[in-house]
């Protein structure tokens, strides 16, 4: 059987996804110990800078006993002439069995997996996918609501450029969560409409209807590239702030993949709001990553 990968959430079945979340929840209570992946060589290959995700993966790898190597080459350092296939074959020959990879171009992990005789874990590729972020968001939602049945979640902001949004849409649909995407049309084209995925332009109308709202990071370069006129104009419609917090249900939660821009997609009021779960999300990240490593490579793992 071909080696399993986690390049996006749908590389696992819905049943496996639930089992992964169960496993992550178990690990958050009781550490599985360092025998789980004892001696398995894991390479963290980050072509794009990362603090939180790289740290979280490294800690997760150490907690399950893996042999951890971390390398942060520049995006262009795949030498001209050396193909992606050559890189994959070389890394396997060195002894690497799991590659945790982040790359600025969508699809790099998929291409690497074509030729790598081991497991690939996607730690974020371009604007494509960031499955462990989606897993930790789903874990946070389940901790909060107990199940996914009947949940409605809004994802707000720059959907077009967000790998977090894409992986969450995939994962949420697998679990039957009703997804509403909110943003201006330049950052949320109509082509995102899909079964179970609705597009809305009016955040004020959406907020009272949802159990959770996920605010995405807005980058200033969207103004230069002509997708947004100004941050002021954006925030007028799409910023989560004191006024809009009043429209959000009392039992709803606020998610953000971080790092957030205070004063842009959200204000300080949001971070201080008791419904905000940012810290919980980050905390859960280590456990879902331990669960993913165990799922892919632990001999004793049984879903």
């Amino acid at each position: 059987m071909a080696a399993r990968n986690l390049i996006d959430v749908d590389d696992v079945s819905p049943a496996e996804l639930v089992a992964l979340l169960d496993r992550a929840a178990t690990y958050s209570e009781t550490s599985p110990g360092r025998d789980l992946l004892a001696g398995v060589p894991v390479l963290n290959l980050f072509f794009e800078s990362s603090t939180r995700t790289a740290t979280s993966f490294t800690l997760a790898e150490q907690r399950v006993g893996a042999d951890v190597i971390s390398f942060a080459p520049g995006a262009s350092s795949l030498g001209k002439g050396e193909t992606i296939a050559d890189t994959a074959i070389t890394l396997h020959a060195i002894g690497v069995r799991i590659i945790v990879v982040r790359h600025p171009e969508s699809g790099f992990p998929r291409r690497l997996a074509e030729s790598f005789d081991g497991h690939i874990v996607n730690a974020g590729d371009g604007t494509h996918a960031h499955p462990t972020q989606a897993l930790l968001d789903l874990m946070t939602l389940r901790n909060e609501f107990g199940s996914f049945t009947g949940l409605r979640v809004a994802i707000v902001g720059d959907i077009l450029h967000s790998r977090v949004a894409r992986s969450n849409i995939v994962g949420m649909r697998m679990l039957g969560i009703d997804v509403t995407l909110v943003g201006p049309r330049t950052l949320l084209p109509d082509s995102f409409e899909a079964p179970g995925v609705r597009i809305e332009r009016d955040l004020d109308a959406v907020l009272p209807e949802v159990n959770a709202v996920m605010m995405l990071r807005i980058q200033r370069e969207r103004i230069v590239s002509g997708l947004l006129p100004s941050l002021d104009d954006y925030t007028r419609r799409f910023q989560l702030n004191r006024d809009r917090l009043r429209r959000l249900r009392h039992d709803a939660v606020i998610l953000h993949p971080g790092p957030y821009n205070r004063g842009i997609e959200l204000t300080d009021d949001v971070l201080e709001d008791p419904r905000s779960r940012y810290v919980v999300q980050v905390h859960n990240g280590v456990f879902v990553r331990m669960a993913v490593l165990a799922f892919l490579a632990a001999p004793a793992y049984a879903a």
Partner: protein, 432 residues
């Protein structure tokens, strides 16, 4: 030596002939068409069970020479052409350097002649160095042998430059050929904009990027009176614009590739560049409109946009990999697969009669006295194996596909240059 093509079904839309006939070629020209022609002292090609047509012309290929001979040479491109059933090709000027001087054009013709396979008609650059700013020397290039002008591969950004080019060259018969993609709307797209690009997190180019340039160029054609050809149309709206321009009396024509007729923008899940091409593969609505455009006569020409690249180049990440793939050696079968219901006579018009007329080159007919350029093909299924390509470009999204029609033999100027799966080099002893 006299050549007799024996026993085939001869279909020549230019004369209305569709019957079992022999075709005799002497001195490079068609000398006689009839039943049971005398073949004493003649080389005979047995066309029993096959179709005999005026030589197919692909008016949109990239031969890469000079400058990128690791991708293709004029000789390997010409070999690919005849192996694909083409007796002539028109080569685009996006070589390095671009075909914008008479010396470069003469060198292309010299190498084509040395190869001795397909006829090669150079298309001259529309602007100097394809830079989009200064006009190319149209009269000098036409005198050197250019049959059309184009900056194919890129779009002339300035409407002013393009209008001046069309006005200056308006006394020349050579048509302008437009590659229509607005650079801003296209940005750094690697595929079509739509559901698949949204899902995959890849930058897509909207059909609008093509449509706005098609509209602009057809308006400039109307303004200047220059005959205008839209290369590789890929959208339903482009075709509507061509219809609209014609209704206003514009001399507008257009071509379609086999890949835009057969493939969709659903081929990028593996993030491989095999199907990366400009303009990109579109969604079903556009594909259906292109098929209809062939059937209703809006589309004049079949042209492959044969764009060979090295395997290692195409194996790069999507953003870095070059656009296009080889088309000459799959075209005949691919068009048949796309349009199984279109009568053979109509197919031959698009392959042969119409490109000859648009480019003003000999061929497109088997009338007695016309060049002895003949494409012989059969309704015989075959499976594409890219490793067998004569082209240096061993890339095609059709590798492994089965097509219902294939070339059997190719005759250029009365010489059999392809038969039994083999390209015949000029110096090789010809054995029947």
């Amino acid at each position: 030596m006299k050549l007799v093509i024996r026993g085939g079904r001869v279909i020549d839309p230019s004369t209305g002939l569709d019957a079992l006939r022999d075709v005799a070629i002497e001195g490079g020209f068609v000398s006689e068409i009839g039943e049971h022609l005398d073949s004493r002292d003649a080389r005979v090609v047995d066309a029993t069970g096959a179709i005999v047509a005026p030589g197919f012309i692909d008016m949109h290929v990239h031969l890469r020479e000079p400058g990128q001979t690791h991708k293709e040479t004029i000789a390997t491109g010409a070999a690919a052409a005849v192996a694909g059933g083409f007796t002539a090709v028109a080569c685009m000027p996006n070589t390095e350097p671009a075909l914008d001087t008479s010396a470069l054009v003469a060198e292309v013709l010299r190498r084509a002649d040395a190869a001795g396979l397909a006829r090669v008609y150079p298309i001259g650059a529309l602007t100097r160095a394809r830079g989009g700013v200064e006009l190319a020397p149209y009269h000098i290039l036409a005198d050197a042998g250019c049959v059309a002008f184009s900056d194919d591969g890129s779009t002339v950004a300035s409407a002013l430059v393009l209008r001046n080019a069309a006005r200056y060259a308006s006394d020349l018969a050579a048509i302008f050929v437009s590659h229509c993609e607005d650079a801003d709307l296209k940005a750094d797209a690697v595929m079509n904009e739509g559901g698949p690009s949204a899902r995959l997190g890849l930058v897509g180019s909207p059909g609008l990027a093509e449509d706005v340039i098609v509209a602009r160029d057809l308006l400039i054609a109307e303004d200047t009176g220059k005959p205008w050809h839209i290369a590789h149309v890929s959208t339903a709206t482009s075709l509507d614009l061509v219809r609209w321009a014609r209704s206003r009396g514009v001399r507008a024509s257009c071509e379609v590739t086999p890949h835009h007729l057969l493939l969709l923008d659903d081929r990028f899940d593996g993030y491989r560049a095999d199907a990366k091409v400009n303009p990109p593969l579109r969604a079903e609505r556009d594909r259906a409109a292109l098929l209809a455009g062939v059937r209703d006569g809006t589309i004049d020409v079949f042209a492959t946009d044969h764009a060979p690249h090295g395997l290692d180049e195409k194996a790069q990440l999507l953003s870095a990999a070059p656009v296009g793939f080889s088309g000459l050696e799959i075209a005949l079968g691919a068009y048949a697969a796309a349009l199984p219901d279109v009568p053979l006579g109509r197919m031959i018009e698009l392959h042969s009669v119409n490109p000859a007329r648009l480019l003003g080159v000999p061929g497109g007919t088997l009338a007695v006295g016309s060049p002895g350029d003949v494409t012989i093909f059969a309704e015989r299924p075959w499976t594409v194996d890219v490793r067998l390509f004569h082209s240096k470009g061993k890339n095609t999204p059709f590798d492994g596909a089965t097509f219902p029609r294939r070339p059997i033999a190719t005759v250029v100027g009365g010489a059999v240059v392809y038969e039994h799966g083999r390209v015949m080099l000029r110096d090789e002893p010809v054995t029947a």
